[in-house]
Symmetry: C2
Subunit: 247 residues, 2 copies
């Protein structure tokens, strides 16, 4: 994110600005876009919250649909929204399905030869700094669901222990140094919950086993859409504001 | 909106529901979609607010991007969002430009032979009841701007006096029975303002001339996007709630 940041757009909202940029990613070897919401009158040390979107998204869905800017403006927090995958690397088959490849948000460093240029983990963690955690309807235990198994076997190969480095349920068991509560909202009318793609209860069990603080809220009647996110995003921004400001 | 209402989707948001329907419009002679937001626990007499979108939109942009559901839920008001034009009537050239024909929101009854099936005014006013007024960056004086002149000459013919029936600035001059204030928000960084497409000052002058109550707010730095709408939509919902509830 150094020299050549090209600004694609700017739009005022809640007295701050939605900005969209393109830059050449050294990590990924392709041009990447990302969106930022800058709250009004930013201080010199402004807390930054990273939003990582899921399957089928790019850097614009959250900015356009979530309404998160209202709370970000109120709390004086900047939002940074990276794209969900490299684009334009032209790996054979990269655009063949919605749940794998281009536009499918799996934030890992691929090791399989074919995909090894796919290094979203490094892109997000090294090209952009890391923050405290909350989630909407996450794939909480990918090694045990069809979406995760498809992605991990193709990106990482068949060694299951390698997969555990990118599975929140496995990670929390191994590495319980979470000091601030993790907030998860999950709609109970979410069809992907019923299809056993998300598995939040597995993550909850793992948190209980190691004493990690988790707030898992099952929200009756809500589905997997941005309407669900828009409904509860204020709570998530307030959650992060609390810990970002005391840090 | 009688018999055959086909429900296309339902998504919970702020404890209410976004619903989308398709029905066969008797007025237009084609299938039309519209969106509704129903607030939680609706009373038997629930106030209804109609949102009419502009150029390039359909019934989904406002529902997806404005975040208006938060305030609608809080005030107990339903939102109804019709599509902006007939679709599928296959009039020659109907999809050739963004500012005329399919997707271009001009709510008039066309009289030119070629377009006379285009009766959005009757569709919205007769198939759906009428309410009090507010607007975001409206084409306030279409007979004097390029967008309006293109649309009116094609839909209505060359007689300028016919055009005045669909021009807010002309109508307020002729028919000043507005008892509740009209609220208009207009971004001053809106490129269509600079291009003389919107002309809110003409409308303001007409209101002053006849003593019609107008609140015209020029919002510094804001453009013509849904981000601008999302920023101020709460004020508009509150504005309508005040008058809908005292009616």
């Amino acid at each position: 994110m150094s020299a050549a940041l090209e600004q694609l757009s700017s739009s005022k909202m809640f007295d701050g600005f939605n900005l969209r940029f393109r830059h050449q990613s050294a990590t990924l070897g392709c041009a990447m876009t990302f969106s930022i919401y800058m709250p009004p009158s930013p201080a010199s040390n402004i807390p930054v919250l990273y939003w990582l979107s899921g399957l089928t998204c790019n850097d614009e869905n959250f900015i356009m649909k979530s309404g998160a800017q209202r709370a970000a403006a109120a709390h004086g927090i900047a939002l940074v929204v990276p794209d969900t995958s490299p684009r334009g690397l032209n790996i054979e088959g990269e655009s063949d399905s919605y749940d794998f490849g281009v536009g499918a948000g799996f934030y890992l460093n691929a090791t399989n030869e074919k995909w090894k240029i796919w290094r979203m983990y490094d892109y997000v963690v090294k090209e952009l700094p890391k923050v405290s955690v909350s989630a909407f309807a996450p794939i909480a235990n990918p090694i045990n669901c069809p979406w995760g198994q498809k992605a991990f076997s193709n990106y990482l190969g068949s060694t299951k222990s390698d997969w555990e480095e990118y599975d929140a349920t496995c990670l929390i068991k191994k590495n319980n140094n979470v000091s601030t509560p993790i907030l998860i909202d999950q709609g109970d009318a979410d069809k992907f919950l019923a299809e056993q793609q998300l598995l939040p209860r597995n993550f909850e069990e793992a948190c209980k086993a190691v004493g990690a603080p988790l707030i898992l809220r099952m929200q009756p009647g809500y589905d997997h859409s941005y309407y669900f996110i828009a409904t509860f995003v204020d709570d998530h921004i307030a959650h992060h504001a609390q810990f970002l400001k005391s840090a």
